[in-house]
Amino acid sequence: MDRREFLKKGGAALAGTSGALGLPLLTSCGVNTASEDSPLAGRKWGMVIDLNECQSDCTACLDACRHENNVAFHNDKRWDIHWIRKVNIRSKESEDHTEKSVLLLCNHCENPPCAQVCPVQATYKRADGIVVVDHHRCIGCRYCMIACPYNARFFNYKENEEWPNTDFPKRSHGVAESCNFCAHLLDQGKRPACVEACEAIGVRALHFGDLNDPESDVSEIVASAPVKRIRDDWGTEPKVYYLGL
């Protein structure tokens, strides 16, 4: 074998090996998803927020969420964690420049950027479309906070001392967290705490249901009313829809 032939064959062998090793790596770059045989498969939970019904001074859903999920509140905006929060926005286009109060929470994207960047597969999309953090696996790298275009991710910079709901775990210092549509309640056949709280005070601003089921509340609203999603052009395909945004 002369030098030229050796280089040719060696190069081909090297390319073959690196291709064989590299392809599985490439295919594993997709979204972390739960196993297919899960009992959750087939559902696709979604939420519709009716901003025309939502009252700007009401905090029923925020308080219910904080209580149900032991969300940390240190009364310091550097460390406070919000699974659901209210912001005031003002439209640049409208004439009157009135402020509008908008509820923001994790959008549970169909293509969640947070799950794509998670190096330990702690953030992943469940078979029913909910984006969840497995806090046991989370190493606190905060990639997901950078990746999330909706700023829905928060980090536990401090230990949370409050523990209002002892049936549900809290998060320790050093993990990222966000809204999980109260997955523990959904698995028991209940509905998220914020939706229950909103209905309890007699307002119908939050609608929750299965987007795959054409009979459900949310599917009918999405099909009939002019709903909007936040920054639909990004291609993240959020499952939180807004009415009157």
Binding site: A34, S35, D37, S38, P39, L40, Y124, R126, A127, D128, V132, D134, H135, H136, E159, W163, T166, D167, P169, K170, R171, S172, A183, H184, L186, D187, Q188
Partner: protein, 135 residues
């Protein structure tokens, strides 16, 4: 063969034998410990019984003693990843084993296993439980 060469060879043989024995010592000691540990009595730390004594735990006592971490890890994956929330959960342990200090910590301290479950999962404080037990 000269006598001096044979002597030297014999010395070499002894040295090599000692070296081999020294190298095998760690393996031997751990093998011996493994055999002894199997026959040994269960240490006293295991004697803590739940309040609800006649109810069986989710698995056999032996399994729960030595393999409960596997069970908990498997259930954890099923709960969180697949949404298979059954009746068994970490927080249910406290229904029978009321004292975390005596149920978890005693053995884990003995085994030098650091637990971080209860930073996030609720388990009653040991103080209130010892009052309840009257100890």
């Amino acid at each position: 063969m000269k006598l001096s060469t044979a002597l030297r060879n014999k010395k070499l043989g002894v040295v090599v034998t000692i070296l081999i024995v020294v190298m095998l010592l760690p393996f031997g000691s751990s093998a011996a410990r493994f055999v002894l540990a199997r026959d040994a009595e269960v240490p006293d730390v295991f004697l803590e019984m739940p309040l609800d004594y006649f109810n069986r735990c989710v698995e056999d006592t032996d399994y729960m003693r030595f393999r409960h971490m596997d069970l908990l890890k498997r259930l954890r994956e099923e709960f969180i990843r697949d949404g298979k929330r059954g009746n068994v959960s970490l927080t249910k342990c406290r229904d029978c084993h009321t004292s975390r200090e005596r149920f978890c910590n005693r053995c884990h301290e003995e085994a030098s296993v650091i637990l971080d479950c209860f930073g996030c999962h609720y388990y009653p404080e040991p103080d209130s439980v010892s009052q309840q037990l009257g100890t």
